[in-house]
């Protein structure tokens, strides 16, 4: 029972095996890919492991506080930003191994030629609440 964040990147991950950009796929390949992602989320809901998931637009802005009474400053997007998140999914699973297994299945989503993309996904554990019985007495 631990939550993990599965992160998909536009940029920043090592190159996928089937590394053809989506705009070079056929219509049917795109449809098949989207269907795979939907089916994956549906299946995880049925296994009681799905928490949430969204895709995010590649273009965003940097925002920071600019002092009392002033509106926040915005900047960017910076084209040179190396790491760019494309989407996320949160799962609630029994073990780390299960999280890795599911990330592996998600990475098998079909791309060009209907073949698995083998893209690299990032798996990050959430920092949960501390247990009632502390593992360490200090």
């Amino acid at each position: 029972m631990a939550k993990y964040l599965l992160l998909k990147h536009y940029r920043g991950a090592p190159a996928a095996v089937n590394d053809v950009p989506m705009d070079k796929w056929t219509q049917d390949e795109i449809t098949a890919h989207i269907q795979y992602m939907r089916d994956f989320a549906d299946r995880l809901e049925k296994t009681g492991e799905f928490v949430g998931g969204e895709a995010v637009a590649p273009e965003g802005a940097w925002v920071r506080y600019d002092g009392e009474g002033r509106p926040p400053v915005t900047d960017g997007p910076f084209a040179e930003t190396k790491d760019l998140i494309a989407g996320w999914m949160i799962i609630d699973v029994d073990t780390y191994d299960r999280a890795v297994q599911l990330a592996g299945e998600l990475s098998a989503a079909p791309g060009a030629g209907g073949k698995p993309i083998h893209e690299w996904l990032e798996v990050r554990p959430f920092l949960a609440a501390p247990p009632t019985i502390p593992d360490c007495p200090h």
């Binding site: 029972m1 939550k3 995880l44 809901e45 049925k46 296994t47 009681g48 492991e49 799905f50 928490v51 949430g52 609630d92 699973v93 029994d94 554990p125 920092l127 949960a128 609440a129 501390p130 247990p131 009632t132 019985i133 593992d135 360490c136 007495p137 200090h138």
Partner: protein
């Protein structure tokens, strides 16, 4: 209306339905419906016989659901609408329900969810909120769990240790949202203790009570962790401690030691010390040695190293620690603590920073970061 009282009737109502021949999954749904109905109706119109009321409503729901089902199947195998009175369910039936919900074929998270619903009487929404997952996901987790155990008969005794593991997991989840899972785990373990005479059930109940007693002192109002040594012991719940110690002593007198009794004994020794400085660390080390003989969980050795550090000095603690795999969770945090006790604040500060990066939860990370900052500021 006392919701805990209402929920405490859940397992016995459910077992009545199962005894009358309802299958577990359908009976469990019917009991949930009856509980929801009770919450709606009872405040204005409290029944004289709450359990009888629940049985009647749940049985009617079960028949309605079965009838709808049967209609779909062209009314084959119609269920007899007048149930045989049947023998009154014994406490033993409730015990079987615990075994079923903690069945080894279930994953831990499924067993936890099913136990909270079928034995605890919590709604799917409450369980989902407590575990911070969508209600739809929790509903699927529960119905899958019910399917998994659908072939299991309720007439064979199970392994009580599987039940205890599930209750321990619930207790450790603590408090999030509207449901106090620690209190719920204590209630369910207490109820279990009335249905089975087993020293480890008593041991787990004692362990829970002794840790629950410290709850007010464990965190500051903003949620920061307070280590045991720094806790305001006046905030400890002495009633819970007294009860926990009494339960533990009775269990230990049976001379069938187990993991939970040994852990509870350690918690009791902490509870017994009026100040941190008066803790009987020598006895605590002995209990860790006992515990190490009962489980190969490496966390025991890690905690033992801390206790050795208190009993025989930080050098002895570090020596004990050096024999352990340094990839163990919290190994670095223990090393930092022992180095600080040994006067090596430079190493300690570095290790606290490192431990913070590896911390498995936010409260611990913040605590370890604070320790590093405290040492860095004093140098």
């Amino acid at each position: 209306m006392n919701e805990a009282l209402l929920r405490s009737l859940t397992p016995s109502v459910l077992t009545v339905l199962v005894r009358r021949g309802a299958d577990f999954a359908a009976a469990e749904d019917a009991v949930q419906d009856a509980l929801v109905e009770a919450v709606r109706v009872w405040p204005a119109d409290p029944p004289r016989d709450p359990k009888g009321w629940l049985v009647t409503v749940a049985w009617r729901r079960f028949l309605d659901a079965t009838r709808a089902d049967t209609a779909r199947r062209r009314r084959e195998d119609r269920v007899d609408e007048e149930p045989a009175p049947g023998p009154a369910p014994a406490a033993d039936d409730t015990l079987q329900l615990y075994f079923l919900c903690a069945h080894p074929s279930l994953t831990p998270s499924s067993a936890v969810a099913l136990t909270l619903r079928a034995v605890g009487g919590l709604t799917t929404r409450q369980i989902a909120q407590a575990y911070l997952v969508p209600e739809a996901t929790m509903a699927q987790r529960i119905s899958r769990a019910k399917r998994t155990v659908s072939g299991v008969r309720l007439d064979r005794p199970g392994d009580v240790s599987t039940v205890l593991r599930v209750l321990y997991l619930v207790f450790n989840e603590g408090y999030s949202g509207d449901v106090d899972l620690s209190a719920e785990a204590i209630r369910l373990t207490r109820q279990l203790a009335t249905t089975i005479d087993h020293p480890e059930v008593a041991g787990l109940l004692a362990l829970m009570l002794l840790h629950h007693a410290r709850r007010e002192a464990r965190t500051t109002p903003d949620g920061s962790l307070v280590p045991l040594a720094d806790q305001n012991r006046a905030l400890w719940d002495t009633t819970a401690i007294t009860e926990g110690v009494a339960i533990l002593q009775t269990a230990l007198s049976r001379d069938r030691l187990g993991e939970f009794q040994a852990q509870a004994a350690i918690a009791a020794l902490h509870a017994d010390a009026p100040t941190a400085g008066e803790t009987d660390w020598v006895q605590i080390v002995e209990w860790y040695d006992e515990l190490a003989g009962l489980t190969d969980n490496p966390v025991v050795q890690l905690n033992r190293a801390v206790a050795v550090g208190e009993a025989d000095g930080p050098r002895a603690g570090l020596a004990a620690l050096s024999k352990l795999d340094d990839s163990l969770p919290r190994h670095t945090a223990v090393a930092a603590y022992l180095h600080e006790r040994d006067g090596d604040t430079k190493t300690a500060a570095r290790l606290y920073t490192e431990a913070a990066q590896k911390a498995p939860n936010l409260a611990e990370r913040n605590h370890l970061t604070r320790q590093a900052a405290r040492l860095n500021a004093s140098r």
